[in-house]
Amino acid sequence: MSTLTRDRILERFSSELPHRLVVTPILSKKQLGEASIDVRLSNQFIVFRMHTFGVFQPFNSAHAKLKVMQERQIVKFGKEFVLHPGILALGCTFEYICLPSDVECQVEGRSSWARLGLQIATATSVEPGFKGVLTLELSNLGTIPIELYPGVRIAQLFFHDAKPEITDAYGGTRKYRCPVGPQFSLIANDKDGKVFSRQANTND
């Protein structure tokens, strides 16, 4: 698996379909590294409403229940989103990404943020054929609150060749299709999880 360097990334931007790589919009040259693209923080967040929920049973809770536990917040560009220590919030990239069927992508936090205690993403791999904004799991591992501003460069994308090319990449039964904001977890859709979960067995 080889990493796409700057020239190959640029080449992929103007390739013919279906091999075109889309990262839109790129607002400044600064976003392009030698082998990566910096992506910006969007203005949508999902935060937890801890006071409304007890224990969350991932394989035994309706999706609607999850929306009781979490709520979407919109922060205007120019305003701040404060992430307190020990708190997890879901954010997303401002850029919309389309991966061709022969490119895979890794999301990494920027070290400048990591040094402040901000962890950006835990599910770092994006499969070929994905289209949408990337949900970022933001958590503050430090001891002081951090102000985050929509629009700031928050993470980096590294692209890799995926060979052989996948037919019907990201098609069929994938859970997250063309999202334009952070997505609530769809863990309850994992049928195999129910096999192992205590809750499901208890209810049988």
Binding site: P25, S28, K29, K30, K76, Y96, K131, V133, G151, V180
Partner: protein, 490 residues
């Protein structure tokens, strides 16, 4: 025991004492409610906060002046407080969760660009299935405050911290269409009301008075003929008065039909001018479930939809022609394969307009016949005059044929499940305009439906709206911050 000097009990004094404390509490409650909205922080822009502040400060001034309010004016102050409190519902409903929030900033900026920087727009849903423009609120409140001679208008205005020079409107859309951003092309028509009012205020009375005598004579003649056919059950001596009275009523009706009809037609013209075929498409979809040949006398003086669509299609005339377009050094065929399905669909509005059932409905009554005869005689001049009020940068009508390449580029993005937010590829990319995004979305949607009538499933349509909404937000941020970021690099 009551003192000997105490004034005798009177109903007026009793009522006054209740009103004075009640109004204080009511006013302070309104202030507190408005302040809650002011700091709620969940609005897509700051305009709802401006209206909340206007209401808060107005309530404060009214409460502050309660001690000097004449007793016979307390009931009036009560009505005033209740009416400004009602305006808070516009603020409440414009929260992020109730609006297509991602397109609000770009839309507001677009609307302000057309109508002037001092105009602000709150965009909120309403449960009634209609689009509408309400306001302007600062003026509405000012006209209510001015007659209160115990409150100097200057005091009220200075309490508003600069808001007194603003104009705040509320633009409503049907709640169930919240995410249907394609239909929101109807907003072009709604801001047309600002220009239509301006035209009507400045020109209508003069235009009407120059025609009124002839209209009245024709109406009287028709009534006389009718009376000869069916004499009224009155003494023939009074017949003349009956004719005069009926004629006066009918002239008045005709005037209202003409005034309200022109208002709507000017709004349509502004919508088409600003948003082009997207506005026509939105009007067609909006009117499809409605009777389109109804006489204005039967539907709140609105012109028949067929009549409106005919005029809108005429304005889009150049976009409905097949032609070769010179774009830079390149000659391009319009409409071309990408736009053609939408173009064919739009051309069908011409077929719709060939049917003259609407004109028959208008001609069947002398009031509508006279009103629309006047409108038709003067329409070209009126439209040109109304459009002149738009800012210089919007002087040119939106033309799809001049944007073939741009629209094709944006439609291809939608075909790849990508938001149509920019033209070109980095580094030669630029943000798409709201007008182009909406038109591209319509081109895409109609092409899909033409290919497969079952395409409009909830999933497909939601995905299209989602991508278009994302595009409007991204394009707004791109156009707002992109230049600053580039300058930093340089």
């Amino acid at each position: 025991m009551p003192s000997i000097d105490a004034p005798p009990w009177s109903e007026d004094n009793w009522r006054e004492s209740i009103l004075r404390y009640q109004l204080r509490v009511k006013g302070e409650t309104i202030e507190r409610l408005a302040e809650k909205f002011e700091y709620a922080g969940d609005f897509p822009t700051d305009t709802p906060v401006s209206l909340a502040r206007l209401i808060k400060h107005t309530a404060h001034v009214l409460v502050d002046h309660l001690p000097t309010t004449p007793p016979d004016q307390l009931m009036h102050v009560n009505l005033l407080l209740c009416s400004i409190a009602e305006h808070l519902r516009f603020v409440d409903r414009s929260r992020v969760a109730n609006t297509p929030w991602s397109m609000i900033q770009y839309t507001e900026e677009f609307l302000e660009r057309q109508t002037g920087a001092s105009n602000e727009f709150i965009i909120r849903p309403q449960w009634a299935y209609n689009y509408s423009l309400i306001g302007e609120f600062v003026e509405v409140i000012r006209t209510k405050i001015e007659p209160l001679d115990w409150i100097p208008t200057a005091t009220w205005k200075s309490s508003l911290c600069g808001l007194g020079d603003q104009k705040i409107y509320c633009l409503s859309f049907p709640r169930i269409e919240r995410l249907n951003c394609l239909l929101h092309a109807n907003w072009g028509h709604e801001i047309g009301h600002i220009f239509a009012k301006q035209w009507i205020d400045n020109n209508f009375a003069q235009m009407w008075s120059s025609e009124e005598t002839q209209i009245k004579n024709r109406i009287e003649r028709e009534i006389q003929q009718e009376i000869q056919r069916n004499p009224p059950p009155v003494d023939p001596l009074f017949a003349k008065f009956v004719v005069q009275e009926m004629a006066a009523d009918q002239v008045n009706d005709a005037m209202q039909v003409a005034k309200d009809g022109l208002t709507e037609l000017i709004c349509d013209a502004i919508g088409i001018h600003l948003l082009g075929p997207a506005a026509l498409a939105a009007a067609c979809e909006f009117s499809a479930p409605l009777p389109i040949d109804e006489s204005p006398l039967k539907c709140d003086m609105y012109p028949p939809w067929r009549y409106r669509i005919r005029l809108m299609a005429e304005m889009c005339g150049d976009d409905l022609q097949e032609q070769t377009v010179q774009l830079g050094d390149v000659e391009t065929k319009y409409p071309g394969p990408v736009i053609e399905p939408f173009w064919n669909w739009l051309k069908e509005t011409k077929l719709l307009a060939q049917n003259t059932a609407d004109k028959e409905a208008l001609n069947s009554d002398i009031r509508t016949r006279e009103a629309y005869r006047l409108i038709e005689d003067k329409w070209e001049a009126i439209r040109a005059q109304a459009l002149q009020a738009l800012p210089r940068e919007s002087a040119e009508c939106y033309r799809l044929f001049k944007r073939v390449r741009v629209i094709e580029n944006l439609v291809r993005r939608l075909e790849q499940d990508t938001p149509p937010n920019e033209i070109g590829t980095w580094p030669d990319n630029s943000p798409a305009s709201l007008e182009n995004i909406l038109n591209a979305a319509w081109v895409f949607k109609i092409a899909k439906i033409r290919q497969d009538p079952d395409w409009v499933s909830t999933d497909n349509f939601e995905k299209l709206c989602r991508l278009v909404l994302k595009a409007t937000e991204v394009a707004f941020v791109h156009s707002t911050y992109g230049e600053q970021l580039k300058n930093l690099e340089e």
